[in-house]
């Protein structure tokens, strides 16, 4: 069924091989970033509903204490990333270019910044599945791979579905990024504990860690720690973008396709990112909240690129200063160069979903003219979903957004960017598709 895998490496059809740019940071151990004097914590840290602030202006908060609580099931609480005083609850710039409600905290720089030790430790084996999933929500866990989808929601598998395998995504296929790589090397015990917790939550007998074969040192480091019963294994897949997309990884490792428009659970899979599970392994026993994460800061004009353990809410301005950014003009990208979001202001803070800050100077931002599609078929040859981006692009230019959706599977496009990457005519295909999706959604809303 999986023909590609019969010949050598485990992989999926299509995709691209961009330059990796990982050597700058992949050998650098994670270091703690100092606390910024001011921390901006957006209430919308996750997909779903934003949290509700439960603190007031002037209140002093201790690092790790809950400052906003979950608003329903599709929401997670937020914990204070620093000890300090609530300066304001106001709107602040977000990565999307707008402004959103946020809790702004003035850091007490002389306070020591200790998270209070818990009174007792939790043993996940003593907890029921429901208790565990609730605990995952209580620590404010979201997918750290970038989507920021509440992890406990993913773990709440519908009763009529059985999960046979948990896939742990350690591919980190985006160029430049080395966060997951460092996490896997440095937090093996936490990662394995997190995997066991996840397996219990979704009641899966088996787990496979998938890494790209450019990180074989991870394979060597983790292998000796794996349980002897074979319930958790680690496998290398081809280094190819977008290997880390769950659809691609499921195919590469198991030859399973996640159905169009469906969830992995439909075919008995649950997919988690390594960083997410490593944090779960670290936080669940202590019952502490997610208040910091590892971020790769890399790109051009930086004196100290590296992997930094960064408090949630740290503004980009502080981060770039600390990493020794010297340029005067650049693009700031939250996430990787293929799917990341552009930051429009230095006041934009890190959120739970931010895995990297990438600085590309103006050399890289040069834009060429957009030419008509010459039907070179390159985009069809790289699209991992096997869509027809050429035709989709032509339809977008004609504003036939409905045809794009109904006949050409627009909604199966997950905006990986492979098509734009290879287009000789420089057509911003992904951007067209994003716009088309938004307009379609609005049209559907209007039509009820």
């Amino acid at each position: 069924m999986n023909l590609v895998n019969l010949f050598g490496k485990k992989t999926f059809p299509h995709g691209i091989h961009p330059d990796e740019y990982k050597t700058e940071t992949n050998a650098k151990p994670t270091r703690r970033l100092p606390f910024a004097p001011e921390i901006i914590v957006h209430l919308a840290q996750n997909i779903g509903k934003p949290a509700k602030a439960i603190v007031f202006k002037g209140q002093s908060v201790t690092r790790g204490e809950i400052i906003a609580e979950a608003d329903g099931f599709m929401s997670v609480p937020i914990h204070a990333p620093v000890t300090g005083i609530i300066k304001e609850i106001d709107i602040a710039p977000n990565a999307k270019g707008g402004k959103e409600p946020a809790i702004i905290i003035t850091t007490s720089l002389d306070s020591g910044q200790q998270v209070p030790e818990p009174d007792s430790y939790n043993d996940y084996q003593q907890m029921s599945r429901e208790e565990l999933i609730k605990a995952v929500q209580n620590i404010g866990m979201v997918g750290l791979g970038g989507a920021a989808f509440p992890t406990h929601v993913k773990m709440s598998v519908p009763a009529d579905r059985t999960i046979h395998t948990v896939l742990i995504n350690g591919c980190e296929c985006e160029p430049f990024l080395t966060t997951d790589h460092r996490v896997m090397l440095e937090n093996i015990d936490n990662l394995l504990l997190g995997i066991r917790i996840a397996m219990k939550c979704v009641a899966a007998p088996k787990a496979i860690i998938g890494i790209e074969d450019n990180k074989l040192n991870v394979l060597a480091a983790i292998k000796p720690h794996l349980p002897s019963d074979g319930s958790i294994t680690i496998e290398a897949v081809e280094t190819k973008y977008p290997q880390g997309a769950e659809k691609m990884l499921a195919y590469s490792l198991l030859g399973i396709e996640i159905p169009s428009g469906g969830l992995p659970s439909e075919v008995g899979l649950a997919v988690f990112n390594v960083a997410t599970l490593a944090e779960i392994g670290a936080l669940i026993p202590k019952g502490q909240g997610l208040i910091e994460r590892v971020i790769t800061i890399t790109g051009d004009d930086l004196e100290k690129p590296g992997n930094y353990l960064t408090p949630i809410g740290t503004p980009l301005r502080y981060l770039l200063d600390y990493a020794g950014f010297k340029g005067t003009e650049a693009e700031l990208i939250l996430g990787g160069p293929m799917m990341g979001m552009p930051a429009r202001s230095l006041d934009v803070p890190i959120t739970k979903g931010t895995g990297a800050v990438l600085v590309l100077d103006k050399r890289a931002t040069k834009n060429d003219d957009i030419l008509p599609c010459i039907k070179c078929t390159q985009c069809l040859q790289v699209c991992p979903i096997n869509l027809n981006p050429s035709e989709l692009g032509l339809l977008a230019a004609k504003r036939q957004y409905d045809v794009m959706e109904e006949k050409y599977h627009l909604n199966d496009c997950f905006e990986c960017g492979c098509c734009s990457y290879v287009c000789p005519s420089n057509i911003p295909l992904v951007q067209y598709f994003r716009i088309a999706k938004v307009l379609n959604r609005e049209r559907h809303l209007q039509n009820g």
Binding site: M338, T365, I374, C423, N426
Partner: protein, 352 residues
């Protein structure tokens, strides 16, 4: 901290790209065509050179003219007009009058490309449009072949080359008789096959030691130049492969039925510019399908049609028409050959 004069550039993802530009692709096609052009000059002398220059310049001038007319930035630098010009010259007889060649070049760009909206919008391969036009307008000149490797080809034009505009070109028969080494019949291998039942040796065809259009006689050289483009990822090998496959299969069928009446598949593949058309003409990106299955269907169709037109039609240059037909069928082929997407549901979702 806080550089307030710091300028943030904003784009949307992806922020990195790696693709040759359209101009780079077209320039590489030109490079790949140059050895073929050189070979045709070697074979047919200065007439071929003049022919190449005439069509190429005419195509580029036309492209420039229309850009200037519509107040757009001139697109001759993307070299696509040069490609059309070179391709066109190579499908014409070496002694084709230059003024007719210039008209062919003008038609190729004006009717084959600009009329449809320029690069990327053309439905047909522009060079073939130009050729089809002059085929209809000057049926005699376009079927007047002159011998390869004539003795003084580098110092003397083929008499018809320099015909004055709108004048009947000088007859070449006498000249041909003078320069031909051994009994040149004035016919291409295909015509020999079709009208006199003479088969040319497949090896001669492969090497190019035969009469024919300016650039399409040496299959070997065409394959080498095509391979260069495939290596650079600027030519889709699937199209030539499908065309050749389609030709071989259909030729094989007839050959199997009656080997004494129908030519062998090898002859079919290596004669009449099929190789050139398969590698450089059918593979015109814009006018061929983009879907994987569609590419195969298109190629096979072109190959099969070529064989049928050659055997049963009145024209020997069948492959040109086969490709034009394939171009016309491209939108339909595409509609029915959309790729199966990842995770496609077994049953097509019914829209309620």
């Amino acid at each position: 901290m806080a550089k307030s004069d710091f300028k943030i550039d904003i784009r949307t993802s992806p922020y990195i790209r790696k693709a040759p530009t359209v101009a780079q692709i077209m320039r590489n096609v030109v490079y790949a065509l140059l050895p073929l052009a050189a070979y045709s000059v070697y074979q047919f002398g200065i007439s071929a050179l003049a022919l190449l220059l005439a069509t190429t310049l005419s195509c580029m001038a036309t492209e420039h003219f229309f850009c200037w007319m519509s107040g757009k930035k001139s697109t001759i630098l993307d070299a696509s007009a040069a490609v059309s010009g070179l391709l066109l010259a190579m499908t014409l007889p070496p002694g084709f009058p230059l003024w007719m060649a210039a008209i062919a070049g003008f038609t190729a760009i004006a009717m084959g490309k600009t009329l449809f909206g320029g690069l990327g919008f053309n439905v047909f391969n522009p060079a073939l449009v130009g050729r089809a036009f002059v085929q209809a307008a000057f049926p005699v000149s376009i079927t007047t072949w002159t011998p390869e490797l004539a003795v003084n080809r580098f110092v003397e034009f083929i008499p018809s080359t320099l015909a004055l505009p709108f004048m009947k070109p000088a007859a070449t028969a006498e000249w041909t008789a003078q320069v031909a080494v051994d009994g040149f019949s004035g016919a291409t291998p295909l015509a020999l096959m079709k009208f006199q039942g003479i088969m040319t040796d497949a090896y001669d065809l492969f090497i190019g030691n035969v009469a024919g259009s300016a650039g399409e006689t040496s299959s070997l050289l065409i394959l080498v130049c095509g391979a260069y483009l495939v290596y650079k990822n600027m030519l889709d090998w699937r199209i030539p492969a499908a065309v050749i496959f389609g030709t071989v299969i259909s030729a094989e069928l007839f050959y199997f039925l009656d080997p004494s009446k129908y030519p062998s598949p090898a002859f079919m593949v290596f004669s009449g510019g099929l190789m050139f058309a398969a590698v450089f003409m059918a593979s015109d990106m814009v006018a061929s399908p983009v879907t994987p299955l569609g590419i195969f269907v298109f190629g096979f169709l072109v190959g099969a049609l070529t064989v049928i037109i050659r055997l049963f039609g009145g024209l020997t240059e069948a492959v040109m028409y086969a490709i034009l037909f394939g171009n016309a069928a491209t939108p339909i082929i595409e509609t029915y050959t959309q790729p199966r997407i990842y995770g496609a549901r077994k049953k097509a979702k019914e829209k309620s």
